[in-house]
């Protein structure tokens, strides 16, 4: 039976939720505001920032100095490439662990997760040396591989959780109807796990898009994505707040828009199987 909620309680809850949402979104909003100011206005007191004139000059200056589209395409290829490659490896792995678990499946899952606990800087030099030797330094392919490996534990874990919610009997029925393993995964399992897979893809694209350690350390100029684009406007000596804000807005806008449009799918996927 649903609990009765009074109108005032509902209004209070809505107000608190709205305030929290505004608080969380405020840094992004402030970046957008600063990006539309001159450098001199951007460093003034907050109320002076809001009352000063608005301009797009920082966006013009950023575009003139840096090639935004080159960085943007690098980001797109690296984020989507690493996620899709990760999916190709993770789907069979998660299937095996979810439907034909062995004695050590839990240990393998925990071991995979434990690799996420290693500070990246601890393996920077070995990976850097590997990249030099196989000629992957400053290449998009190299970053696709590294980010795929970094996010693979998350992809496998997410898919494993979704797959576990799918009744094994359905797959059994498919097998009894003569479906091969490939057909079973491709035509029965995958369509049923689409919401979960969609949220896995979205989350990993966001993670790969925002990754700033490997993308800064393994690139120079050719494969540098938008994280390097933002970093080029950060400076301890000189005022670049407005330009830095403009660069940040340009870098986060695509992923923000994508997240905005797919938020229903994202939430559906993340809560998939939460209620039976």
């Amino acid at each position: 039976m649903a609990r009765a909620v009074t109108a005032s309680r509902k209004a209070l809850t809505t107000a608190i939720a709205g305030a929290l949402a505004f608080l969380m979104f405020f840094p992004i909003l402030w970046i957008v505001v600063l990006s539309l100011k001159t450098e001199v206005d951007a460093i003034r007191a907050p109320w002076q920032v809001l009352t000063s004139g608005w301009t797009f000059e920082s966006y013009g200056a950023v575009q003139e100095r840096s090639d935004y589209f080159k960085h943007f395409w690098n980001s797109v290829i690296i984020a989507f490439g690493s996620t899709l490659l990760g999916l190709v490896i993770a789907v069979p792995a998660a299937w095996a662990m979810a439907f034909v678990p062995g004695k050590r499946t839990k240990d393998v899952l925990m071991w995979m997760l434990s690799t996420k606990m290693l500070p990246p800087v601890g393996v920077l030099v070995p990976i850097y040396l590997l990249f030099i030797n196989i000629g992957l330094l400053d290449t998009r392919f190299g970053l696709v591989i590294v980010l795929m490996l970094i996010n693979l534990p998350i992809i496998i874990w997410m898919l494993y959780t979704y797959f576990r919610e799918i009744p094994g009997e359905i797959l059994e029925a498919a097998r009894m109807d003569g479906a091969s393993l490939r057909e079973e995964v491709l035509y029965v399992l995958t369509p049923m796990a689409i919401p979960g897979m969609a949220s896995t893809v979205l989350l990993n694209v966001i993670l790969a898009w925002n990754e700033a350690f490997w993308t800064l350390n393994l690139t120079a100029s050719k494969a540098a994505p938008l994280t390097a684009f933002i970093a080029s406007y950060s400076s301890p000596e000189g005022l670049f707040y407005a330009k830095l804000s403009a660069a940040s807005v340009m870098a986060i806008a695509p992923i923000l828009i994508m997240g905005w449009f797919s938020q229903k799918q994202l939430v559906r996927g993340l809560t998939f199987g939460a209620v039976k």
Binding site: R65, A231, S234, G238
Partner: protein
């Protein structure tokens, strides 16, 4: 006018380029500051003249340091030209990570580079980086507030005690003016850049001749106590989070009566488009206390060619162009003389156009020539460097001490605790590194 600029550009390139036959693609890693932005903007002229192409990697100073260190140490060869500071140049040069730069061509006037700058970028007599701009530190002050408080510009170098008296008279928080703004944000290149020369002035030093840290000495205690009291009494609120940029913005916005910081900030403070106090600012030497040695810092941003680069000749060609006398003239003619790279060449300070456009020019020259990184303290030391110690371990030690002092400034611990922690850390690091047996 346009023809004149083209002629200057053409002459500059013709004078300093040897003209290698093969067009190369060079990758240059650099920091983000206004001088480097101008260099990036003007470099197509060099590309056009030589046929070489430049790929720019612009990064924040600390990210750049980490990125370039990894690449050079692993012989990655990602970069053909790197921007490094006066701290790295001698250390990396000694390690064999950089190519010597004694052969930039007959037209490159080495003798024109200020001697302290050349020495600061050399190791064992070899020049490993060529200066793009150099700076010392001096005191910015507001002429209108001095007049209101009945103060006069000092003609001689004043002491920190006299400076505190001056600041007390200028402090007027009710009208939004703080007596002084100094760096408080933790970091060896942030608060320690100001604190280091101040400790030198109070007679302190980082290490004795046996490399034993002396951070718990009475000289350090006097200096840091003075600093914390000064900032708490006459500084802006939240000073422990203010670095160079924050203070620069506060001063330009008319919130600070005095500020001891980089001479290179003068071009910004004196630019009426960016500063509301451009016509009300003057400067005098950074204060002394028990000694005048090491009271103004020395820093230079310079260009170097890593030993891992495979395009050394083309890279040197670019260095010869970007740090030449002719390049300084090119910047002056195209971007305005006040924007010319300061502090590196005698010829810049003999140029009447520059002297007229930059009223701070002579004081900057005097401060840079007075800075002697080889003899920075009252008592003898085994190291070189004024606001830093030119050893690889300093970065970690300087950052830690900076954090301790920032915590003392924020009131999270006492000065005694900050210095005791710093001393323990420095002893541990120096023992680990083998300096202390």
């Amino acid at each position: 006018m346009r023809l004149g600029k083209s002629l200057i550009a053409g002459t500059a390139i013709a004078l300093v380029t040897g003209g290698t036959a093969v067009a190369e693609e060079l990758t240059i890693a650099t920091v983000n500051n206004s001088d480097m932005i101008i260099m990036q903007k003007l470099s197509p002229q060099w590309e056009e003249a030589t046929g070489h192409k430049l790929n720019w990697v612009v990064l924040e100073e600390n990210v750049l340091r980490q990125r370039v260190t990894t690449d050079i140490a692993t012989k990655g060869g990602s970069f053909d030209i790197v921007t490094i500071g006066a701290y790295e140049a001698p250390i990396w040069g000694k390690q064999g990570w950089l190519n010597g730069l004694e052969d930039l061509g007959d037209a490159y006037d080495y003798a024109d580079i200020f001697e302290p700058v050349r020495n600061g970028l050399s190791a064992d007599g070899t020049l490993y980086a060529v200066p793009f701009y150099a700076e010392s530190s001096f005191t910015f002050y507001r002429t209108d507030l001095f007049e209101k408080a009945g103060l006069e510009k000092p003609t001689e170098q004043i002491t920190y005690d006299q400076f505190a008296d001056m600041v007390a008279k200028l402090h007027d928080p009710d009208n939004g003016v703080y007596g002084t703004c100094q760096r408080g944000k933790a970091g060896w290149g942030e608060n320690m850049a100001f604190v280091g020369p101040m400790v030198n002035a109070f007679g302190g030093r980082w290490f004795d001749m046996e490399w034993n840290p002396t951070i718990d000495s009475p000289e350090w205690k006097a200096a840091i106590t003075y600093y914390v009291d000064l900032m708490n009494n006459y500084g802006p609120p939240g000073a422990s989070s203010n670095g160079h940029n924050e203070n620069r913005a506060l001063f330009a916005d008319g919130k600070c009566a005095t500020w001891v910081d980089a001479t290179s900030a003068a071009g910004y403070i004196f630019n009426p488009n960016e500063s509301s106090v451009a016509d009300k600012t003057d400067f005098f030497q950074a204060p002394k206390q028990v000694t005048d040695k090491g009271t103004g810092w020395f820093w230079a941003w310079a260009l170097a060619v890593p030993s891992s680069s495979t395009k050394v000749d083309a890279a040197k060609e670019f260095l010869a162009w970007a740090t030449s006398k002719e390049y300084v003239t090119l910047v002056g003619e195209t971007e305005g003389w006040v924007a010319a790279p300061p502090g590196t060449r005698k010829s810049t300070y003999e140029n009447t156009a520059y002297i007229e456009a930059a009223p701070f020019a002579k004081t900057v020259e005097t401060s840079i020539l007075a800075a002697n990184p080889a003899d920075p303290t009252k008592d003898p030391v085994p190291y070189t460097g004024i606001q830093f110690v030119a050893i690889p371990e300093f970065q970690g030690i300087g950052n830690y001490v900076g954090q301790q002092i920032a915590a003392a400034l924020a009131g999270q611990q006492t000065v005694d605790q900050a210095l005791a922690n710093s001393q323990n850390f420095a002893v541990r690091e120096m023992t680990k590194a083998g300096y202390i047996k």
